[in-house]
Structure formats: structure tokens, C-alpha cells
Amino acid sequence: MALILEVQDLVKQYPGAAEPAVNGVSFGIRRGEVFSLLGPNGAGKTTTIGMLSCLLKPTGGDAIVDGHSVRTDPEAVKRLIGIVPQDIALYPSLSARENLRFWGWMYGLGGKDLARRIDAILETVGLTDRGNDRVDSYSGGMKRRINIAAGLLHEPKLVFLDEPTVGIDPQSRRNILEMVKALNAQGMTVLYTTHYMEEAQELSQRIGIIDNGKLIALGTLDELTRLVGRQDEIELKIASEHAGPELAEALGKVKGVRSARSEDHTVRLVADDANASLPEVIGVANARGIKVIGIDVREPNLEAVFLHLTGRALRD
């Protein structure tokens, strides 16, 4: 079985809500991959994870984890998965070790084996020396790391990480991203939700874009960006403010340039291929005696994909 998780037309209608929070989502996760679910606030990421982790009963559809249905065989599913909730779910007055020991117990671990795993996971999240401190004395980033550790103790085959980097410092974020990569390298399959496109781009083999409860696109980064059409963005900074409109007009005629517009000291171009068009672009500017003081080339990213698909920006 190549797929460790198969999501089939999942629907979740919260009582009293006008629209379903998740509205017919289907996708599959391959064994050993990192799959990101990218979407803005309220897209339905947490609701989807909730159904996959047997916390919410689906209104419709099903999900199969390693051959077990979340509807008919939740007990088996629960043993296979690890979950890292979006909101920190720890006991603040207990130490990190006590929290981890408790969650280990809940997964049927105990004794020396559990103690060893706790030591190892504290090492992994870089909190060995703070392990005996109460969790409420931790920084947000440290809490997040223990929150993740608690979901990994029992070494699940498939782990759900629900926005694990929200609201933390860059250093903790880096630590978490590296950890996800390391775990994946050890063979753990990861379903990662986020609304940061850079994270999805950096971590995942494949990405699903979710909006308003629907999966609007799914594929590798390349596949997704191709949706937008291969268009690059070139940004020229020029010394003279007044030359902008004139230059933009001239550059619009360059081969491969789709559009050009100017704004103060900047001229923005959309081109089929930035590399191919750049020499001529510079040439045109030089011919007119307009000094270019900076060039920025941007290839299409998920932000652009989202914008392309929804007409809205993917924002914090």
C-alpha cells in the first residue's frame, strides 16, 4: 500500500454553521512523505485534522489510515497516529518530564522504555536541561517544542502537525522545521498544516491548498506553480524618478515581457522567463541613459498560486 492515509470526500458540518467547515476534501498521503496542507485562517485545516485523529465525527466521507477507517475502527487509527494540536495541550503546572511521562502512559508506554524515550525526545527538541521545570515557566517556543514532543513519544508512523510554528521566535521555528525534516528522514510520514507558504515550500514533497473547506489545488511545488503559468516578476530600481513611465512603456515592447508598470523609483515587469529577457531589458535602459541601481527577480511561489486561484492573498 503506497498510501498511508487516504482521505475520501470528507465533510464536516458544525451544528448551526451556515456552511460546512470542511466540504468534500479528498487527498492521499504517501508513506514517507511530508504533505502540507496550506490554507488561510478558517480554511478548515484543524477541522480536517480533527476528523483524521478521531476527535471529530465526519458528517460525510471517510479517511483510511493504514487500512483502518476513522469511522469504523478509530481505536486502531489512534494507535497508529501521533497528533500535535495547534493549541498547546499540556498541563502548565507539571514539568516537561511529567507531561511527557503522562502522555507516554496514555499511549501505553511505561517504565525504563518510557524514561529512555523521554530523555531522547528532550534531547531532540533541545530542552534536556529544562526538562524538570514547570511548563508554565517556559517561553512560547519552548512550550511548542514540548507540545510536539508529546505527540512523538510513541513513535507513530504518521504524525499530524497542526500549525506547529504559529507565534514563535525564528530560532524555535528553525528548530521545529529541522526536527520535522530529521523525523521524516528517519521514515516518519508527516501531515503538516500551515499558512506560511515558505514552510510548505521548504518541507514538503507535496502540498494541498485548502480554502473555505475545499481543496483547491494539490501537487508538488512545481506542479502548483505551473498553474499560474511560468511567469516571473522582475523589479528594476532606477535612480531617476521621472524616467519611470517612459522606461515602462519601452520595456513593455521587449520580447517575452507581458506587462510593465512604474511606480516612483521602481519598474515592475512580468515576463515569461526573466533570464531570457533580462539582457534586452538592461539594454533598453542603457540606451535611454536610465541608470538601473537594483534588479530583483522573483519566480512564482505559492503565494502567487493562491492569489491566482482565489483572487485573495494568503495572509497571516
Binding site: 494507535r79 498541563y91 503546572s93 499511549y107
Partner: protein
């Protein structure tokens, strides 16, 4: 197993909460001492020890029963406790009481045997009169208890109600509070079959080393305040049940491989364990720090368990009814105060009307305080059977109702 681990976790979490600890343990201890001091009854050891209490017996009965009772007063068992003397007539005996020479006069009326055995119709005149010395409250209660236990021993519960407590009440010679306490004990012993001599032993050495007034107030306030704040603790437990949902830890539990029954069971067990721990610590602290004598350790232990169970039932019910943790706290606080008043945690309810006493039975407080006082007076576990059964019955009903409500509430569903 996982249920036990959840309960243990809850116990740990609660005992890490300083504010909760202050209210669970600090407040009741401080209030116990404070109230006892305000009542002015704690430090003054003006009362005599319970030894050789002078008592006067007048036996006007010609029959065998009256003679037995008179003899009982000079039995070996009561040798240390009582110092009986006899008088020829009631007037002389009452005079001794009025002169503060004795703690009470026990007047066995003529024809008592006939009345008791049913040889003749019994009337008001056939009641044993205990003419108590109002300055020696507890001591005269002891004498009353001796008479009652005798009456029990001859298995004439019918007569026990006739002990002329009412007369003394009317004469203002004993206060209403005591009368009710006496009545309560009589009623209890009527229920219990094993009473031979047990009631007499109630006034044995353990009480006698204590100045009587120490027992009086501390013995009442210590369990009263403990039970009052027991209600706080169970409400806190109920609150935590809902709070775990809000903080997401309940969700995490549900997505772990544990049955929902085990999760709920663990949470409920946690509340019960915390309640038991709190009561035990408070009773122990009162005993060790202030020398309060609670009586039969086994009886105390079982009573604590029964109380913890009944109170937990209330805590869980509040959690089942309320929608948010905040609501649990609010309702819990209201319940704590209402039960405190209804159940006699603030003011003894013995002299309240019958309907009030009936209503008070919905509170763990009423049962618990009654149980502790009975134990303090020397009752043991068997005599406490009714109280313990009442509390466990209350617990069972509350558990069933609240678990049903909680399940309907879909607490475990995201």
C-alpha cells in the same frame, strides 16, 4: 490502569495549585480555629474532666427494670466515669442539682417496670426524668446517654422516646441544641441493633482526658469547615473536567488510544481522590495540631470516604449541568454556601424545624457533621451504618445522573 494514571495526574495538578491548596486546606483550618475562638470555648479549660461525675439516682419503681437501671449506674464499666449516689425522693435529688452538687438527677418513676413491660398503660408520669444541671451541659448529656443506652439494652426503643427530655426543655434546664442532639442519638441507636454496652462505653477514657469544652466547639467546627470546603474542592474538580476541554488536553486524550469510559472514569476518580485526600489531611491536621478527638478511626475513615464520594457526586453534577468552567465555579460556590447553611456547617441545625432537617439531608454537610459528632461521642462504625449508607446512596444517585448527563453532552466530541 490509564484511568488511575489520569486520576493520579489530576491529584498532582491540584496539589500544585497554591490558591486551591489555600482554600482546600488553609481556609478550613483557619476558620475552625477562628470560629472556635470566637465562640470563646477553645482555650478555657474551665470544665472538669469527665471523671467521677456526681449523679443522683432516685428509684421510685418497685419492679425489676428500675432496679437494673439503678444498678447500671454503679456498674464496673461506669466506675471511673460516674460517682452515683441515691436519694429517697425527687425533691431532694432536684435540690442537689440546683445546688450544683451533682451533674444530674435520674428519677425513675413508680410503676416504670409495669409501663415498660406493658403491664399497664404508660403515660407522661411514667417517663424517666433526667433533671440536668444547666451548668454541666456535656456531663449531663453523658448521664442522659447512659440512661438511653440502658433503655436500649432492654430493647425498648418505644420507651426511649419517652425519656423526659421534653420536660427539661420546657423547664429551660437543658438547651434546645442539646435536646436535639440527644434525640438524634436516640434515633440512631434505635436503628442499630448492636448496642449492648456500646453506648455506655462512649463516655470512656478517650473523652475523659479532654476538657469538655474543647471537644464541644472544635469537634463541631473541625468537620463542619472541612465539609464546607470539601464542596469547594469538588466544584474545582468539576471545573477542571470542563477546563480540560477548553485547553485541548481532553482532545489530546480522546485522540490517544484510551476509551472514553476510561477517560471519564479517570477524571471522576481524580475528583474523588482529591476530595478524600483533602478530608483526610484536614481531619488529621485538626487531630494533630489542635488535639481534636474524632473517635473510632475506622468509623472516621469510612465516613471520610462516604463524604468524599457524595461530595464528588455534587461536583460532577455541576460539571454536567454547567456549560463553561466559569459556570462550574459560580454554581459550585453558590452550592458550597447554600449547603453550608442548609447542612449546618455554620450554625448547628439540630434545633431547626423538622422540614428543615429533612431538606438538609440533600447536603453531604448534614450527614457528615452528624456522623462526626456521633463518632466524637463514642459511636463506632456499626452505629454509623445509616449515615454512611445515606452518603453512599447520595453518591450513587448523583453519579448515575451526572454521568448520563455528561454522556449526552458529548464532552468528548471536539
Amino acid at each position: 490502569m490509564k484511568a488511575l494514571q489520569i486520576a493520579f495526574k489530576d491529584l498532582t495538578v491540584l496539589f500544585r495549585d497554591r490558591t486551591a491548596l489555600l482554600l482546600m486546606l488553609g481556609a478550613p483550618l483557619i476558620l475552625t480555629v477562628g470560629l472556635a475562638l470566637i465562640s470563646g470555648r477553645m482555650s478555657g479549660s474551665s470544665g472538669p474532666a469527665f471523671q467521677n461525675l456526681p449523679v443522683v439516682i432516685v428509684n421510685l419503681d418497685q419492679g425489676v427494670v428500675g432496679g437494673q437501671l439503678a444498678d447500671a449506674f454503679s456498674s464496673d464499666e461506669l466506675d471511673d466515669l460516674l460517682n452515683p449516689q441515691t436519694a429517697e425522693d425527687a425533691a431532694a435529688a432536684r435540690a442537689l442539682v440546683n445546688d450544683d452538687k451533682v451533674v444530674a438527677a435520674v428519677i425513675i418513676p413508680a410503676g416504670f417496670t409495669d409501663a415498660v413491660t406493658g403491664a399497664k398503660e404508660s403515660g407522661a408520669a411514667d417517663r424517666i426524668e433526667i433533671y440536668a444541671n444547666p451548668n454541666r451541659e456535656i456531663s449531663s448529656q453523658i448521664v442522659t446517654a447512659v440512661v438511653e443506652s440502658f433503655v436500649q439494652q432492654v430493647e425498648l426503643a418505644r420507651v426511649s422516646g419517652q425519656v423526659a427530655v421534653e420536660q427539661l426543655l420546657a423547664a429551660g434546664l437543658i438547651n434546645p441544641q442539646e435536646a436535639a442532639a440527644v434525640g438524634m442519638r436516640v434515633a440512631e441507636r434505635s436503628v442499630s441493633a448492636q448496642n449492648s454496652g456500646a453506648a455506655i462505653r462512649l463516655v470512656s477514657a478517650e473523652k475523659s482526658t479532654e476538657p469538655e469544652q474543647d471537644f464541644d466547639m472544635m469537634g463541631y467546627f473541625a468537620p463542619s469547615m472541612a465539609i464546607l470546603f470539601l464542596m469547594y474542592t469538588v466544584a474545582l474538580g468539576g471545573r477542571n473536567l470542563l477546563a480540560e476541554k477548553e485547553t485541548g488536553t481532553l482532545g489530546r486524550l480522546v485522540s490517544a488510544p484510551i476509551s472514553e469510559t476510561a477517560i471519564l472514569g479517570g477524571k471522576l476518580l481524580g475528583i474523588f481522590l482529591v476530595a478524600t485526600a483533602q478530608m483526610s489531611i484536614l481531619i488529621l491536621a485538626n487531630a494533630l495540631l489542635f488535639g481534636v478527638k474524632f473517635g473510632d478511626p475506622l468509623g472516621v475513615a469510612v465516613l471520610i470516604l462516604a463524604l468524599a464520594a457524595a461530595a464528588s457526586g455534587w461536583g460532577i453534577l455541576v460539571a454536567a449541568i454547567a456549560r463553561t468552567p466559569g459556570q462550574v465555579s459560580t454554581i459550585g460556590m453558590a452550592l458550597m454556601l447554600t449547603f453550608g447553611v442548609l447542612g449546618g456547617s455554620f450554625i448547628p441545625i439540630n434545633n431547626m424545624p423538622a422540614w428543615f432537617n429533612l431538606v438538609s439531608k440533600i447536603t453531604p454537610n448534614a450527614w457528615g457533621i452528624e456522623g462526626f459528632i456521633a463518632l466524637g461521642y463514642g459511636d463506632t462504625l456499626p452505629q454509623l451504618a445509616g449515615t454512611v449508607a445515606g452518603l453512599f446512596g447520595m453518591a450513587a444517585v448523583l453519579f448515575i445522573v451526572s454521568v448520563t448527563l455528561l454522556r449526552r453532552k458529548n464532552l468528548m466530541q471536539g
